[in-house]
Symmetry: C2
C-alpha cells in the first residue's frame, strides 16, 4: 500500500503561498489588537474534557469534539474553541491584575464535522476578549476592534455589516411579554437562532407548533420584524419596557458618537445559539448577496468564571475564523497577491568556479541583515531573471567567468533595471546600493 500524500480529512497543508496569506491575515489581527493595547496569550492545545462540559454542557462534547483518553487515563480534548481556556487562565490571575484585562490569541481549533465551504475540521480563530470593563464600554471597544480589523484589510461598510442584538431584550420579550416558561424560552431561542436558515413557510409552521397563544404569536412576529434601533425603541415603548434597562440602546449612542453607526444594524434574530452569552450579541456579516454569512460572532458573557467558583467578572469578546475571513477577502477581491516570496537579492554564478565567492558574498550580506537567495548551481544569464522574479528578489547579482577572475560582481536593480559593478569584497558599497 502506498502512503497517502494528502493531509488528514478536513485539514489543510499550508504551502508557502497559502502560508503567506495566513501570515498576512494574522499580522493584521495582531496589529489591530495591539492598536487597542490587547496583549497576546496562548494556552495548550489539549484541555481536560471537564472544562468544556462545565462551559457548554454535554451536547457539544458528544457531538463534535475530538476527545480521547491519554495513557494516564485523563480524558482530554483538542480545543474546539478558546473561550474555556481563556476563562481558565483569567480565573488564575484576575485577583492580582488591574482591570480591564485585554487579551487576544490566534489558536488553531478542531471540530469533528463534515468538511464544507467555510467549515473545516481544523481552523484558526482570532479571539479577543476584555474582562472587567465598565458597562457598555467593553462591548463598544470589542465592536470597534472588529470594525478596525475589517478596515485593515481594506473592507468598509459596502462589504460588511455588524448585525447586533441584546439577549436582555430577547429575555424580556420571551419572559415578560410572551410569558414563556424556561422550557418554552429554550425552544424559542433555538427557533430564533435557526430562523435565517429556515424558509418562511417552515418557520411559520414551527411557530405554530409552539405553545404560544395568538396574542403572543403576534408580539413574537412583531419582534422578529424589527429592523432598526428606531423600530426597536418604538417596540420597547409600546410594550412599556424601560430603554435604560437595555444596554444596546446606550451602545448605539456611543457608536453614533464615534461615527460607526453605518456599520451596525439591529437584527432581532441574532442570539448566538444557546451559548453562554448574557447581554449584547453580534455577528460580522458579509454583505455580498452570494456570500451572506457570518465572518465572526461575539458578545458579552457575565458568568464564565463561575465554573471555577470565582466571583463573576463581565467579559466581552469575539472569535473570527481564518477560513471564513479568507472567503470574505477573496469574494471582495481584497486579498493581495502572495504568489511570490520576498528576498533582497538573489546571487547566481555562471561558472562553477564562482561558488566559493558566491558563498562568501552571501555570508557577508546576511551578516549585514540582507536576505539572500543563493543559486547553488551555475545558471545561464537568461534564466537568472525568471528565477529572480519567481523568488521575489529586488536585486540580482551575477558572477560570470570574467567577474570571478577579476574579483567583481554585477548587481542589477530589478525594478529600475539599473546595473552596477562592484568589487566583491566592498560590502559597504554593495549594501548602500541595495538600501
Amino acid at each position: 500500500m502506498t502512503l497517502s500524500k494528502k493531509p488528514y480529512k478536513g485539514t489543510r497543508d499550508f504551502f508557502p503561498e497559502e502560508k503567506r496569506i495566513r501570515d498576512y491575515m494574522f499580522s493584521k489581527m495582531k496589529e489591530t489588537a495591539e492598536l487597542f493595547a490587547y496583549e497576546s496569550y496562548d494556552g495548550p492545545l489539549l484541555e481536560e474534557v471537564e472544562l468544556y462540559k462545565a462551559k457548554s454542557g454535554e451536547e457539544l462534547i458528544n457531538d463534535q469534539i475530538y476527545s480521547f483518553n491519554d495513557r494516564g487515563e485523563r480524558f482530554v480534548a483538542i480545543r474546539p474553541e478558546m473561550t474555556p481556556t481563556v476563562a481558565r487562565m483569567v480565573a488564575q490571575v484576575h485577583r492580582e491584575v488591574s482591570k480591564p484585562i485585554r487579551w487576544y490569541s490566534i489558536p488553531n481549533l478542531y471540530r469533528y464535522e463534515r468538511p464544507q465551504k467555510g467549515r473545516l475540521r481544523e481552523h484558526w480563530q482570532f479571539n479577543v476578549d476584555v474582562f472587567g470593563a465598565p458597562e457598555v464600554l467593553g462591548e463598544l471597544e470589542i465592536i470597534q476592534l472588529g470594525i478596525k480589523l475589517m478596515q485593515s484589510f481594506g473592507a468598509n461598510s459596502n462589504h460588511f455589516e455588524i448585525l447586533i442584538n441584546d439577549r436582555a431584550i430577547v429575555d424580556k420579550v420571551f419572559k415578560e411579554l410572551l410569558k414563556c416558561s424556561e422550557d418554552e424560552c429554550y425552544k424559542l431561542y433555538k427557533l430564533v437562532d435557526r430562523s435565517k436558515k429556515l424558509d418562511k413557510e417552515k418557520f411559520t409552521t414551527q411557530i405554530n407548533e409552539t405553545t404560544l397563544n395568538d396574542e403572543a404569536k403576534l408580539i413574537f412576529n412583531e419582534y422578529l420584524a424589527l429592523n432598526s434601533i428606531e423600530s426597536l425603541k418604538n417596540f420597547l415603548t409600546k410594550n412599556s419596557i424601560d430603554e435604560k434597562s437595555i444596554e444596546l440602546i446606550s451602545l448605539d449612542e456611543k457608536l453614533k458618537d464615534l461615527g460607526l453607526s453605518d456599520y451596525v444594524v439591529f437584527d432581532p434574530t441574532i442570539v448566538r445559539g444557546l451559548d453562554y452569552y448574557t447581554g449584547i450579541v453580534f455577528e460580522i456579516f458579509d454583505k455580498n448577496p452570494e456570500n451572506r454569512r457570518a465572518i465572526c460572532g461575539g458578545g458579552s458573557y457575565a458568568n464564565i468564571l463561575k465554573i471555577f467558583n470565582e466571583p463573576s467578572l463581565p467579559g466581552v469578546g469575539f472569535g473570527l475564523g481564518d477560513v471564513t475571513l479568507k472567503d470574505f477577502l477573496k469574494t471582495h477581491n481584497l486579498l493581495p497577491d502572495f504568489s511570490s516570496p520576498k528576498v533582497d537579492i538573489i546571487l547566481t554564478t555562471q561558472d562553477e568556479t564562482g561558488l566559493n565567492s558566491l558563498l562568501n558574498l552571501a555570508h557577508s550580506l546576511r551578516s549585514n541583515g540582507i536576505s539572500v537567495f543563493t543559486q547553488l548551481e551555475p545558471l545561464k544569464i537568461k534564466k537568472v531573471f525568471t528565477l529572480a522574479d519567481k523568488k521575489g528578489a529586488s536585486f540580482a547579482a551575477l558572477l560570470g567567468t570574467q567577474e570571478i577572475q577579476d574579483g567583481l560582481v554585477q548587481i542589477k536593480n530589478l525594478s529600475t533595471k539599473d546595473q552596477k559593478e562592484f568589487k566583491i569584497d566592498s560590502i559597504d558599497e554593495i549594501k548602500g546600493y541595495l538600501a
Copy 2:
C-alpha cells in the same frame, strides 16, 4: 468538585509575559530563516498514524505518541515531529518546483512523556529543511543558519558549540573496520548514542558485553577518543579510508572558509539515535557546564521521500525546541526583559465627564496607527504614571476637569518627562508630538 484552573499536565499557559518571550524567540527564527530565503509553511496538527509508522517504525508509535481513533475510525495522531509532514508535502510538489526547496516552520508538537527540565508534553519546534541542494552545500547552509540564529540572540562561541559527526564515518568504522553484522551495528549505534549519558565504567562494561574481539574493541575505543577533525583525518589515513569519501571533511573546509570553524567540534558520539539520518549529523550544544545539553539536533537524510514511493531527494534540516532554547537563553542571561507590554500612549481621565472625549481621542489616534491603552474609569493623577509604566506606555495623556471644560489634553513624554498641552481635536499636532 471544583474545576481545575491548571493547564493539562506537561503543557503551559502562556500569560502575556511568557507569550512575549515566545514571540521574541519565534521572530528571531523567522528573521533568520528569511535571511536565508527559506519560506514558511505549515501542516495540520493531526496526521494519520501510518505516516509516523512509515518513517520511524513501531517503537515511537507505541511509546510516546498521542494517537486515537477519530469518529470515522481513522487512526490519527497529534504530530510528535514535523519531518514526516514536511516530507509528505514535499512529496506532493517536488516534481514541479525548482531545487533547492528551502522551507521552515514553527509547529507545536506533542509527546507523551514524564515532564522534566527541558522536556514537556507540548513544545514548539523551529524546523528548517533544504531539499535537493548539491552535496555538502545543504549541510553547510543549514549549519550556517543554526549559527546565525544563535547569534541573533547575542550568543557566540563562548556560549554554544556545534558537535558534528558523519554517519558515513560511523558506518565505515562499524562495517569495514569492526566487521559488524547489521545486528551488531544496530546495537553499537544504540550504545554510542547513549554514551554521553552512561558513566565510563558502565560504558566499558557494555562494550565488553558486545561480540567485538579485542582488536575491534581497540579500534572502537580509538574511534571514540577522536576529538578534532585533525585526529579524525589521521585515523582515516591510518585505517586506509579515503578522505574524499567523507563529506564531513569537505564541509569542514567550507566552514573554515567562512570563518565558522570556531563553532564546530568533531564528536564521534553524535549519531542522532537510530533515526533516519544518512550523512552528516550535528547538535547545537550548550557550553555552560551546568547546562550541558543539546539545544538542537539535525543532519542530512537521503531517503525520506521513499516512503511515498517517490525517487530519493536529499534533505538536510534541524529541529530546535522552544523549551531548551529558553533555558539556554536564561542560563546565559541573553533574554531581554519582557515584563511589560508596549503601547504608544495611555489615555486617562481624572473626571468621569471626560470619558466621551477620551473615547473620541482614542478612536482618532488609532485611525492614525497609534496604539492606545484607554483607562476607562477616572484615575487620580498620581496613579497614572504607575499604570503607564506597567502598560509600557511611551506617553501618557491626562484629561482633568479643567482640560475637559477647555477641550484640551495634557500629554507627557514619559522618557523625557516633557509635557505639552494640545487642543483635543488637533490630531495632527498630537501625532507629531508622539512620533
